[in-house]
């Protein structure tokens, strides 16, 4: 590594001087296409339509920054886009704030920025403002990215816990656990035949399709940290109803299943970055599945459960014929068997 060369990030890249400008012009502006960003003013200025807006923010830290199926940049865009998408919004603008570790290869930064731009293109959003800081080597692990996103709520859309009723169906758009396994394998060097790829993808395409076609959507949630089980538990607790999931109906592809079993992990608790859960009225459940299956991110969409009267518990009907209670994940799972 050439410490004096231009191919790594230096502290000076973050001091607002010449190198910072070089970085902005030669890297960020080259990849992020936005007329608003190009103005390089202190704040991005844009006009708003009528109606309601949504705003969300998230910071992205992932070890390792590059993994099969994506990198921290793609994650930073998709994560924020997806939070807006499942809230019933059409995402429009993003901010991007980078905190870089001194010594990070510029080539790595460039490929991260490139994949952010790629994800923005797919999602149809613009990065309109940003920031860059550099910290001394060892003060953080390679790269942190914060993104904030704003979007317009689709007219007439009302999602929330208050709309969930017993009898509603629970749907997912596809196989669970891919992102979690992909990152763990890369991080710890686990080697499985048939590499598992992260499912990282922007969901606003499929969610807007769903919102347009299906009136009876009650709530949507992306299944990130803690996976399906944790999200289902959060929903059940919040609305005081039980959610019953059927193990036989939950899509988990063979690669994830095999890897999770070897690692002693439960796919229902693994992170996803391109999966979401939908709760929909029973009358429209089948149609919702069909709509999702018509989109490339919903090919394996299925009904996986049902809302029942109860006390905020999540139950899993297992393939063995019993009923397991699913709780929030409590740290790493410790054996219960004595």
């Amino acid at each position: 590594m050439k410490e004096n060369g231009r191919d790594i990030v230096l502290l000076a890249h973050g001091d607002g001087g010449a190198l910072t400008h070089e970085l902005i012009n030669n890297l960020f502006l080259r990849h992020f296409e936005s007329n608003i960003l190009k103005t390089l003013t202190d704040a991005a200025v844009f006009s708003v339509n009528e109606g309601r807006m949504a705003i969300t923010t998230d910071s992205f830290v992932v070890d390792p920054p590059f993994f099969p199926g994506g990198d921290v940049g793609k994650l930073a865009v998709c994560g924020t886009v997806n939070d807006l998408a499942v809230s019933g919004a059409r995402p429009v603008y993003l901010t991007a704030s980078f905190i870089l570790e001194e010594g990070l290869p510029l080539a790595d930064l460039e490929s991260i920025v490139q994949s952010m731009a790629g994800a923005c293109g797919v999602a149809g959003v613009e990065i309109v403002t940003g920031d860059t800081k550099v910290v001394e080597k060892g003060h953080l692990d390679k790269i942190f990215i914060n993104t904030t996103g704003v979007g317009y709520i689709f007219p007439g859309v009302d999602l929330g816990y208050h709309r969930i009723k017993p009898g509603d169906k629970v749907l997912v758009n596809g196989s669970l656990g891919q992102h979690g396994i992909a990152v763990l394998c890369k991080r710890y060097g686990f080697d499985f035949a048939g590499q598992v790829m992260s499912d990282c993808a922007p969901l606003n395409g499929i969610t807007s399709l769903l919102l347009k076609e299906i009136r009876g959507i009650k709530i949507m949630r992306d299944l990130t940290r803690g996976g399906l089980a944790t999200t289902a538990k959060e929903i059940a607790s919040a609305c005081g109803l039980d959610i019953w999931l059927d193990e036989n109906c939950i899509p988990v592809d063979a690669g994830v299943k095999g890897a999770a079993e070897m690692l002693g992990l439960d796919p229902l608790y693994l992170a996803n970055e391109g999966k979401f859960m939908v709760i929909v009225s029973p009358e429209e459940a089948e149609k919702a599945v069909a709509v999702m299956q018509g989109h490339e991110l919903g090919r394996d969409a299925s009904i996986i459960g049902e809302v029942k009267p109860g006390k905020g518990n999540v139950y899993l009907s297992t393939s063995l014929g019993g009923t397991k209670l699913l709780d929030l994940m409590a740290g790493s799972p410790l054996p219960r068997i004595c």
């Binding site: 763990l184 710890y188 060097g189 686990f190 080697d191 499985f192 035949a193 079993e261 070897m262 690692l263 002693g264 992990l265 139950y315 297992t318 063995l320 014929g321 019993g322 009923t323 397991k324 209670l325 709780d327 409590a330 740290g331 790493s332 799972p333 410790l334 054996p335 219960r336 068997i337 004595c338």
Partner: protein
């Protein structure tokens, strides 16, 4: 009523006596009635919710004589825990009478456990001239269902599931005749008035014909029957029919766990060695499954208990069982009627649903099972009966403990083999086997059983003790039970105090806890622990060195994973190549395991004794997969030589550094012996001797420093026959007072007792 004028003779007194304990449903009132008449006393006897209440009027000396014989000669099934009386003014009773039950305020009368079929009733059902001939629900005051049919106290027919069967005149006559064996036998019944058997197919459609002959024919044809017994359904098939056994195992998803069988005593002797202590247990009113050693010439199919030298046998304990065995089949599999991991099926409808995929036919009846109760399991090791599962026949008899609690305490138990315990005064009521709490059905069993037991003994817990494992369901359940205080109890401290309480001891001791895994105060999974402590607190003195369990719970299921961890930890590069060679067949997974160990990802650290057994079992190629809890350790335990011979083999080297016992020498020794081609029996025996040597050395060091001379053994690994029998020889030989479990299991089935006692003590310190 009061005819004072006549009664005011000199020396006449009236005693109001209350007898507490197991005094209802065991023929206590007829006994009192006959005894009072023998002494020519006047008065009354009645069941109350506090116990049996007697009014005895007569000459003072006569009343004293009556009391003395009452204490001495009470009926065999009864147990008196308290006998109190007040002396009152005589009121001039004219006779002695049994009067109807009345409900009192506090509920202190104890419901007796279920009692195995008695000889008199057995004779009647076989006697064509008797009106109970061929009637599968025959019982009397000396036998029959109790706990499993009771809904409330006082114990009366109206509060049992017999309430819906009004007695016929003949049964009513016997019930009211103080001279009859069925006098006040609450579940008394006959073909004219009692419950009826029905044989149905998987769809619940009645199979027409003689149910008994049809059942025999189906069993002979290799079919599987679900038979409704006392505490739940059994899955039954011909124990000599290999194909039927295979079908049963496949359908039940029970790969290797031994299946219990039922036969008559003569048959048991034909296949197994039955010692005097074992015979006593088999024929006891509790009628547990007794683990017997198979005879050398035992020709029963290996599928009954693969890889085992033993077989679990019980004698027929209901008339229905006796009738089934009084035909062409001498020995039947009687395994619990449940789907994998779920509680026993007990209701007809649910059974059809849950067991429909397993059983071909259902032999059921219309007497409801109120309290689910699994069969109890006992093993005799040396001269000590070790209870492995305490349930039917024992529950709800209390264990008398040395502490006395002023507030009722609940011990919530562990997550597997769960029982809970209600401590009231100095009586600890350990529940029936609840089993695995990892399902909604298991939780429902827990709560229903808790409600019922609370109701039967009349107490609402005010203090709760539970395991400190953050992932235990039992701990979550405990936290949701309202109480004045909740105490988190360390798993192995609970084991140790369970053993103290089991022995009625309340003092400082050295606890030698050889166990699977339990959550430790440092967040690690403990399991080979030498503790000192008492009913309040403990100190961890010595423990086995930590080793990672690759994949957490997966390592508990797959013992070879732990073997890889041990090899890598103690033999580094050489260990890795040995792992490659031994577990080559595991392919890619082996590489993943190595990465798990190397990186520590999802590999919690553990000092478990069970996992050390697992590792050695896998190294010897005995067991790679635990299809049931403890399989690898049990199969390793089956490998050892006879103790008398085995104890002469030299242990493998180990060393103690600080508080840690390092088993590196064991792993190296086993590896070297394997390489030299030493017989597995020898290696297994040397390994067991090493564990004993570790225990002996650690105890010696602790005793030297602390001067504590009492040693308590607890934890599931003490169910190992070899370890237990040699420890019982060695430790007293070294001058210690040895405490072992007698009434509750050393495994997690005994945890709740320890938790309750500890929580009681901690609460006493708070108030």
């Amino acid at each position: 009523m009061a005819q004072r004028s006549n009664a005011e003779k000199k020396g006449i007194v009236r005693y109001r006596i209350i007898v507490k304990g197991i005094v209802q449903g065991v023929g206590f009132r007829p006994f009192i009635y006959n005894l009072a008449r023998f002494y020519r006393l006047k008065g009354t006897v009645a069941n109350t919710s506090q116990g049996v209440l007697i009014e005895a009027e007569g000459q003072e000396e006569t009343v004293h004589a009556f009391l003395a014989s009452l204490k001495e000669k009470h009926p065999p099934l009864s147990r008196i825990t308290a006998l109190e009386w007040d002396v009152l003014e005589p009121c001039g009773y004219s006779s002695f009478a049994i009067i109807p039950s009345g409900e009192g305020l506090g509920k202190e009368a104890l419901i007796p456990p279920d009692v195995a079929l008695c000889a008199d009733c057995a004779r009647e059902i076989m006697d064509p001239r008797d009106r109970h001939y061929g009637y599968p629900f025959t019982n009397c005051t000396n036998c029959g269902p109790r706990f499993t049919i009771v809904r409330g106290v006082p114990y009366d027919r109206a509060k049992t599931s017999m309430a819906r069967f009004p007695m016929c005149p003949e049964c009513a006559r016997e019930y009211h005749d103080p001279g009859n064996r069925r006098f006040h036998a609450q579940p008394a019944a006959c073909p004219a008035c009692g419950p009826q058997v029905e044989l149905v197919d998987r769809q619940g459609r009645k199979v027409e014909g003689n149910w008994l002959e049809l059942s025999w024919r189906f069993l002979q044809d290799g079919k599987i029957l679900a038979v409704k017994g006392l505490g739940g359904f059994h899955l039954v098939c011909d124990a000599r029919n290999r194909a039927a056994l295979k079908t049963l195992r496949r359908r039940k998803g029970r790969e290797a766990k031994p299946l219990a069988v039922m036969c008559l005593l003569e048959t048991a002797r034909k296949y197994c060695y039955v010692g005097p202590e074992e015979e006593k247990l088999l024929s006891s009113p509790q009628a547990p499954i007794v683990i017997l050693t198979k005879r050398a010439d035992c020709n029963l199919p290996d599928e009954l208990a693969p890889g085992m030298k033993t077989l679990g046998i019980m004698l027929p304990y209901t008339p229905l069982h006796l009738m089934l065995l009084n035909g062409p089949l001498e020995i039947l599999v009687m395994t619990s009627g449940n789907r994998n991991g779920l509680p026993l099926a007990k209701d007809n409808g649910r059974a059809l649903e849950e067991l429909g995929g397993i059983a071909d036919y259902f032999l059921w009846h219309n007497r409801e099972i109120v309290n689910r109760c699994d069969d109890s399991v006992v093993a005799v090791i040396g001269d000590t009966a070790q209870i492995l599962r305490r349930s039917r026949g024992y529950v709800p008899s209390p264990v008398k403990v040395a502490v006395k609690s002023s507030s009722p305490v609940l011990g919530a138990g562990g997550d597997m083999k769960n029982t809970f315990c209600l401590l009231k005064g100095n009586q600890a009521f350990v529940s029936q086997h609840i089993g695995d709490l990892g399902s909604r059905e298991g939780e429902a069993h827990f709560f229903a059983s808790l409600e019922n037991l609370k109701n039967l003994i009349g107490c609402e817990p005010e203090v709760v003790g539970y395991d400190m494992h953050p992932g235990y369901r039992s701990s979550r359940l405990a936290a949701g039970i309202p109480a004045k205080a909740h105490f988190a109890v360390q798993h192995h401290h609970a084991h140790m105090v369970s053993c103290l309480a089991d022995n009625g001891v309340d003092e400082e001791a050295i606890g030698v806890i050889l166990d699977g895994t339990g959550y430790g105060t440092d967040g690690r999974l403990w399991g080979f622990e030498i503790l000192t402590g008492d009913c309040t607190d403990f100190t961890r003195e010595y423990h086995l060195a930590y080793v990672p369990l690759p994949g957490g719970e997966q390592a508990v299921r797959y013992p070879w994973r732990t073997a890889v961890a041990y090899l890598m930890k103690y033999l580094s590069a050489q260990g890795e190549s040995l792992a490659d060679c031994l577990f080559q067949s595991r392919g890619q997974e082996l590489e993943v395991i190595k990465r798990l160990v190397a990186t520590g990802f999802n590999s919690p650290l553990s000092s478990s004794c069970g996992r050390l057994f697992d590792a050695v079992s896998a190294l010897l190629g005995l067991c790679y997969y635990n299809s049931y809890e403890g399989q690898a350790a049990i199969e390793l335990g089956e490998m050892v030589l006879d103790p008398a011979e085995g104890k002469r083999l030299i242990p493998y080297p180990f060393f103690i550094e600080g508080k840690v016992i390092h088993p590196g020498g064991v792993i190296a020794g086993v590896a070297a012996d394997l390489e030299r081609g030493v017989a597995r029996e020898i290696i297994a025996t040397r390994f067991h001797n090493t564990v004993l040597a570790m225990v002996r050395e650690a105890v010696r060091r602790v005793a030297e420093r602390t001067h504590i001379k009492t040693v308590a053994l607890s934890g599931g690994a003490w169910q190992n026959r070899y370890l237990f029998s040699l420890a019982k020889e060695i430790l007293p030989g070294d001058g210690y007072r040895l405490l072992v479990h007698r009434q509750v299991p050393a495994n997690d089935g005994g945890l709740s007792l320890g938790q309750a006692v500890i929580a009681c003590r901690r609460w006493q310190q708070c108030v």
